[in-house]
Amino acid sequence: MDLKRQVAYMRRSLFDQGYLDEQFIQLEDLQDDVNPNFVEEIVTLFYRDSARLILNIEQAMEKSPLDFDKLDTYMHQFKGSSSSIGAKKVKSEATQFREFCKAGNAEGCLRTYQQLKKEYTTLRKKLETYFQLARQAGPAETASRPN
């Protein structure tokens, strides 16, 4: 398959598999001549900034007993941030986590957090691959929507 088609395919599957939502498309629409790598820049920024939030959450998760209010606050921030790039699965886990926080369910929080981290990392890898591929295929392709 030629590179451009690969890129398009990969992009499509990210949506189909629920990794990304409409917000990602919004970012793509914002990409223009002034900011030709806008989407990638945003994703990079997200992962960089959210690392800080993840760290906060992890530190808080190590405490015993869990401070649910604090965790909820951190997760709220994280959720807001992840919504910025359209990280659908990550966002969903964050919501779930917050539910457990409100219920004071430590077990639930722990489980969900593991899941969240997994999704968070998976998405990063996929997007890194995607952007790399897109750059190789040629800038024009990445900016446009499929179909």
Binding site: E22, L45, F46, T73, Q77, K79, G80, S83, S84
Partner: protein, 593 residues
Amino acid sequence: MENGFASPRGDAFPAGLRVLVVDDDPTWLKILEKMLKKCSYEVTTCGLARDALDMLRERKDRFDIVINDVNMPDMDGFKLLEHVGLEMDLPVIMMSVDGETSRVMKGVQHGACDYLLKPVRMKELRNIWQHVFRKKIHEVREIENHDDVQLIRGGSEEFEDGQLLSGGDLTSPKKRKDTENKEHEDQEFNDPSAVKKARVVWSVDLHQKFVDAVDQIGFDKVGPKKILDLMKVPWLTRENVASHLQKYRLYLSRLQKQNQPKSSFCGTKQSDFTSKDPTGSFGIQNSIIMRQNSAGNSSFGYCGNKILVQDVGSEIYESDLKGVISFLPVTEPKKALAADASILQKSSNGSGIGPTHSFGSLGPDVKYNIQSPNCWNGEIPVMQFAQPKQEQDPYRVLEDSYAPLPPSGGPRDQIQANGLQPALSINPRTSVTENSKAITTEIEPLCTEYGSNHAGDISRKRQRIDSFSVGGDTDVANARAFGYMSTSNGSPPMKNHSFDQIYINNWDSPQPNIIPEGGSILISPHEDLEIHSLQGYGYTENVGFNNTEFLTFEHPVPITEPSNHLIDGLRFNYDYPCDSMEYPLIDRSLFIA
């Protein structure tokens, strides 16, 4: 609006709309910036609420609209929202990833003109200009309505522009309105942002002139033209005055409303509290104070703030204090509340308002710059707070003046007993000359004069005050009041930012609900004070706060020549007939936009 909108940038409105985006999430900040730029707006981003406030305060007319996230690390987004609304009277849009109804409702209650859910869509951002536009129209209408009311009141003098209308000609209001409509529209609609820029800065002096004029005319008969004529400020237009008057009225009426339901505030004399429409009592300051000595007088000798007075009124006077106490910024060492400090600072204006009361912590020379020196005429320089009379909760007065004060229990503490300032009242003018320090010291002894009740109150009050700064809810309200001192002049030595914000011009907060639940202003500890609801003060003259602004958030308010102010303040109070004036001193002082 028929005319096309033309922004100063030369583009057609809404292009060029100046937006300030505040969000602690850098990713969102960048995205929003890009989105807004795509809408052809002029974007400024900010990651901290404080920085945003600084930017806004630094130049009031720099932005047309603010978008901020609910969850900010350094300040609650709702607080920022209130501040912006009150101080700058700009439309604010809230954002959050959380779309819970309660949150949205809170946003609306705090004055947000819209609440966007993240992720935000382009089409939502494209439409934000409507909020700017709507505000403009609303303002224009307010002015017009106001004018109409004036007309009906009678007085062909109200008519201006050479219109010959016989007094009482009710058909003319309509004509006038149309004419004004046109005037306003031409002026306002052509360039919304330009209009903003052209706003008058209601400095302390200017406001004083305004209040003087109003007092002279008599609140009932006041009208923009008359005021304008008396003020003799060549560059001031009738519209400026009309708009200012409108806000003044709104502010007063809001105070009134606020005070009314709060029985706790007023303590006993609530009934006396004037429910009269505040508009009628422009000259409250003095009138109220004048009233002093009437035992059952609920009107506190507040300089202009009838509302405040409520309970205090009679009380204060009994000791012939003339209610002055209240504002003295008192040099009390007690630094309890930041608010205090701020209040004091504000009072440097010389308004007698020295809320001495609570502010015990006010720094020396902190004067309440209660901007409205006008209030001072009359004996009691306003904030009489200090007058704790036996039954009365002296603090109540303070609270009232400030706006919804916390329930009686609370306020007491807040108000520093020190506020009592018999000295002031007695010789407003002369005492005014004295330093605030002097005054404050005088006040203190007064406190002791009061019955044991007072003493108790006082001590309680002090405590409260301390707690106040901690952000107690009820106390906050007090703090609010106190914080509201307009600092007409430089910054007072004291640095109380806490209060600064409180009163910042927000006379007419666009949203009546700025007041937090319970009507008390929630002032979070220290810095948050500033934000708190100015409610009741609805007086926001949207003029940029320049150096003359009252409250400078966290900027030391220079208390320059406090004595002068005091004198002025006192002077003002005296001139007002008790009955007519119902506006709290705060009013006046606050109004320094």
